[in-house]
Amino acid sequence: MGEEKKGEFEPKIIGFTCNWCTYASADLAGTSRKKYPPNARIIRLMCSGRLDPMFVLKALLNGADGVFIGGCHPGECHYIKGNYYARRRIAAIRTILKQFGLDNRVRSEWISASEGDKFARVMTEMAEDLKKLGPNPMRGKIL
């Protein structure tokens, strides 16, 4: 799965999702048989606040074409304020990546457990956007 077909670029996305919302929304998208491209490899976190921005850097430097971060809507964090802290960290790391033209490979969305269709839509959009963008320039580099 995810290996490149001849001639067509299939982006690899690393998805960090919150256990209480976006991870469940992916489940819901699956059980409701929503179709979306299988480009994302999901890593479940207990909260988007668990996301150390180093995860994003490491994924990109190791050749991931995109990084997705999914958390609960502001005000709905299972741990009250984890996603607020996550928001500041993501904004900071994207600001840094923007200087080097990598920010458009990182996307975060607030997706609740009941928004299976939003999850499917975001995954589809992201895969399409990354296809247009082309492979991560870090891919295949000796880093």
């Binding site: 050749g63 904004a91 880093l143």
Partner: protein, 355 residues
């Protein structure tokens, strides 16, 4: 603001008084070491040198003095006499719980821009003890250049900490209390305090404008490929981290097995990717570090001075960090009460920066 106008030669007595009246138990302050300027930790008032008034203003940068007192856990009261960037770093360290503000008396000193300490030592006669813009140009013609960090610094006038030491024209200075602790210290020294205006808005605006122009003139790093090229000589010695006043972890990630892989770990990584650069994690290290200091970097340029490969890191760390500081409207070291951006949040914010 309460302050007193004194002669530059009176500063010797001022510092001596701080120790004699036990306002502080020790002072970390610059002193003349041969032709160079270095820091000393002094407890005996008799050891305050007669040249100290001139030494504190000398346009020389060796280390960021905030790094010297970083992590101290002592009951003694420590006085730190240093340039504004160093005092700002100390204030960030207080906010990062690396120092107790009550045990610190921070004394910021007007700075006119600095040379690397070895450059200053080699040319101290030509440079003299005071810099003016005409002189900076003249020295530049002789190949004696200001540090890049100082060229892009927009806040080098003393206005942070507890006490500001402001240099006036001629050989006069003003010592002014900026906080209650600072004013109490001046009162204890029985200085003739009166209301003093040390804001200097016009001069600050002029400096900021010049700094902005200089920053725009610096070569930009605008893609990941350019960053790779910029860092290509890096040997991952991590000197930039060791001298950084605001890099404070007890054990850095890049000293641990995951961040500093060796032996079998390194082989496994190479197997995973086919080939990896060694020493490992060059780009990962610098990108992580710039994130870690993004809100607290005071732009002192100690990293660039310390780089054995002479990579001009001033074009990277302070420049990138400033972009992050801008989105949080945060100025590191400006206000000890203002919380660090990563420990607070607002209900609605930053949504345009997430996707």
């Amino acid at each position: 603001m309460k302050g007193a106008e004194i002669g530059i030669e009176d500063l010797e007595g001022f510092f001596r008084g701080l120790l004699e009246k036990e306002v502080v138990d020790c002072l970390v302050m610059p002193h003349a070491a041969g032709k160079n300027i270095a820091y000393m930790l002094v407890t005996d008032p008799k050891r305050i040198e007669s040249s100290s008034g001139k030494a504190i203003f000398a346009p020389s940068f060796s280390v960021n003095a905030a790094g010297i007192v970083k992590g101290w856990t002592v009951a003694n009261k420590v006085g730190l006499v240093a340039k504004p960037c160093e005092i700002r770093a100390a204030i960030e360290l207080v906010k990062l719980n690396q120092m107790d503000k009550d045990s610190l008396l921070l004394i910021s000193v007007d700075c006119s821009g600095t040379f690397e300490n070895q450059v200053y030592a080699d040319h101290s006669d030509e440079i003299g003890e005071r810099l003016e813009s005409g002189k900076i140009e003249e020295l530049k013609g002789k190949g004696i250049e200001l540090r890049e960090a100082c060229k892009i610094c927009d806040s080098r006038l003393a206005d942070v900490g507890d006490i500001a030491v402001v240099r006036l024209n001629g050989d006069k200075v003003v010592v002014a209390g900026l906080t209650n602790m600072g004013e109490a210290a001046l009162t204890a020294l029985e200085l003739p305090l009166e209301d003093k205006e040390i804001e200097r808005k016009e001069e600050k605006a002029r400096i900021a404008e010049e700094a902005k122009k200089n920053e725009e003139a610096l070569p930009k790093i605008s893609s990941i490929e350019e960053l790779e090229a910029f860092l290509q000589d890096c040997i991952v010695c991590k000197n930039c981290r060791d001298v950084c006043p605001v890099c404070y972890c007890k054990e850095c990630f890049f000293d641990q097995p995951l961040g500093n892989p060796a032996s079998g770990d390194l082989l496994n990584l190479a197997e995973l990717r086919g080939a990896i650069g060694v020493p490992a994690n060059q780009l990962f290290y610098h990108l992580t570090r710039v994130y870690h200091v993004s809100t607290t970097c005071v732009g002192c340029g100690a990293c660039a001075d310390a780089c054995p490969k002479e990579i001009p890191l001033t074009r990277y760390y302070p420049v990138i960090a400033r972009k992050v500081q801008d989105i949080f409207e945060y100025e590191p070291g400006k206000d000890v009460e203002e919380p660090l951006p990563f420990v607070v949040y607002e209900e609605e914010e930053l949504e345009d920066k997430l996707r």
